[in-house]
Amino acid sequence: MLPWLVLLAPLVAAGVILLVTRGSRALSAWISVGAVAVSFVASVALFLGPDLRSSVDWLRFDVLEGISLAVPFGVTVDSLSKTMLLVVTGVGLLVHVYSLGYMHGDRGEARYFACLSLFMFSMLGIVLADNFVMMFIFWELVGASSYLLIGHWFERPSAAEASKKAFLMNRIGDFGFMFGILLIWGMFGTVVFADLPGGIERLIGGVDAMRLTDPVQAATLSKRLTSFLTLAVLGIFCGAVGKSAQMPLHTWLPDAMEGPTPVSALIHAATMVAAGVYMLVRVSFLLPFAPSAMTVIAWVGIITAFVAALMAVQQDDIKRVLAYSTLSQLGYMVSAVGLAASGAAMFHLFTHAFFKALLFLAAGSIIHGMHHEQDIWQMGGLKNKQVITFFTFLVGALALAGLPYLTSGFYSKDAILYAAAGKSIPIFVLGLITAFLTAFYMTRLFLAVFFGKPRSEKAKTAHESPLVMWLPLVILAVPSVIFGFPFITSAFQLDAGHHEAGAIPVPMLAALAFLLGVGNGLWIYARREHDPIRISLLARKFYFDEIYAGLVRVTQDLAARIAGFLDRYLIDGLLVRGASALTFGAGFVLRFFQVGSAQSYAMVFALGAVLLLWVALR
């Protein structure tokens, strides 16, 4: 019963708020917080309990020989989902509490909390899902709730556009995801995770058995099997690319910062965007059968990490810097999955969720104190005005940048770099450069926000946030530091990763990257009033948005115009109206034969009759 309680409590809260209490903001907020608290407590209980599975028949068709479709509505609780449950409900609970302060007095507060609860339900669904279809269902639902939350201030055109973009980008990813699911089902006849390894073994066993009798056939079969699996894995990876905002579908995530900041912290940093990684880890047993797909995954991840870090260097909006750093860290995780180090990916996901949530919530606190100003060059000198925020932000920033041996971020990043060092030197080098860039842009951000003189009226009058907002910061600061230490990882059964790194001294290099990054940042940005570097290519994010806009114009919009035009003028115009015009025209022409003389008619009639007779008797 417990997993169902975890899953359904937020849904009930969302339903109650929508149907009953939407008139009362405070009541709605507390219902939502209560629901997520229930989920959290139940998650802790689950964490301490045994693994379990439970399901009911949702769809079931067993009809033909060879084809059956069974989609249970099922939950699975194992070490992977237990950890993820704690992350989601824990961060979720803190963000809910934080929102009590941040969203206080907002016109749409009830709607906000309803959507937040809906999101919690969907996210927990992804975590608990025991089969592909269930995962896809919640996958889409988090997309929808994210759409609603980004568009919370729907009267702002930028928010409305951003939410639309986020949903559509995710839909494109889901196109591939569903296709991958269909392929998997087509090959193995099941969508349940637990049944898939058996299915793969059966297929491979069949090929092996054939190898004895017909080696040539078996070789082609094995090649086909690999290419089908590769295609399926790439399809599923598409889903992860959309949800985890990997290149080339990454552009929605920075725009999603139009949403309220707690939403950015919960959805667009800690949980939902990590769902792509979680899903890849969940199906990582498939990956070894599709080696080329793994290479693709590793490279997509690391390129995203690197490019996003570059873009973060030149952003001026505090939330956008954090958004690009999220992209970059997600790139690390995806790359780790591609390097067959899903344990390391999960580890980094786990630590990242806490320190990134912390950073976003701290940023929210800054924005709140700065009267909704987000430009870092309008801030400055906040360290005296927002002391708690300052220290907690420092903790988060150090964790993100990877302060050696003292913060969780260092350990988890290290695990990924170990994996890369053992597998592919180019990826390892890119990872190191990214680590350097991370330390660099976080230093830049930190200096610009907290040090120097206040650079605007708003910065001069900034104030510390209320208790409900800073308390979650303090709570989150603790795991940001300690959750990388070995005793914690063993407690959470996380695979910290002891991969063969060969002769490369990974921790040394990582520490070096950190020091270089921080040092460079200090050297360039200490006591600056403006950004001394202007690289428009980076500031404009490599022109991705412009390129995409152009691409959409020349492909989709043009195709739509052509289809619309042809539909109106070719099918409806030429064919349909043509048919009617032909009828009218024929009538117009034929009426000239209606001379009105009865005798002519009789003549034609007689001629026709005689002609018929003649033909009949011929």
Partner: protein, 108 residues
């Protein structure tokens, strides 16, 4: 002269029919056209009666079904003439003509 056969009657009937048809097609006076129509009807009657006579029933007598049909045709023709002539009178009253080529209100 050899005995008269069914073909002779049918030929005569056909010629009569052709003459009537020709009249319908070339004459312009609607009353004469009406007369020609009657000729065509009667040509058909002749063929029917000839069939009736040459196709004997099992008891050796003519097949009187054909003659019954002729009876109906004559009756209908009589009614038709009456109505048709009444129409012609009505037509003449409005158009002052019985020339068919001047009665072409039906033209587009």
């Amino acid at each position: 002269m050899s005995a008269i056969t069914l073909n002779d009657y049918l030929l005569v009937s056909g010629i009569l029919f052709a003459v009537g048809l020709f009249g319908v097609l070339v004459r312009r006076n609607i009353i004469v056209i009406y007369m020609c129509l009657e000729i065509m009807l009667n040509a058909a009657n002749l063929a029917l009666v000839a069939f009736s006579r040459f196709h004997v029933a099992p008891d050796g007598m003519p097949d009187y079904h054909g003659q019954a049909l002729v009876f109906f045709i004559i009756t209908v023709a009589a009614a038709e003439v009456a109505v048709g002539l009444a129409i012609i009178v009505a037509l003449y009253r409005t158009r002052q003509t019985t020339q068919i080529d001047e009665i072409n209100k039906l033209q587009y």
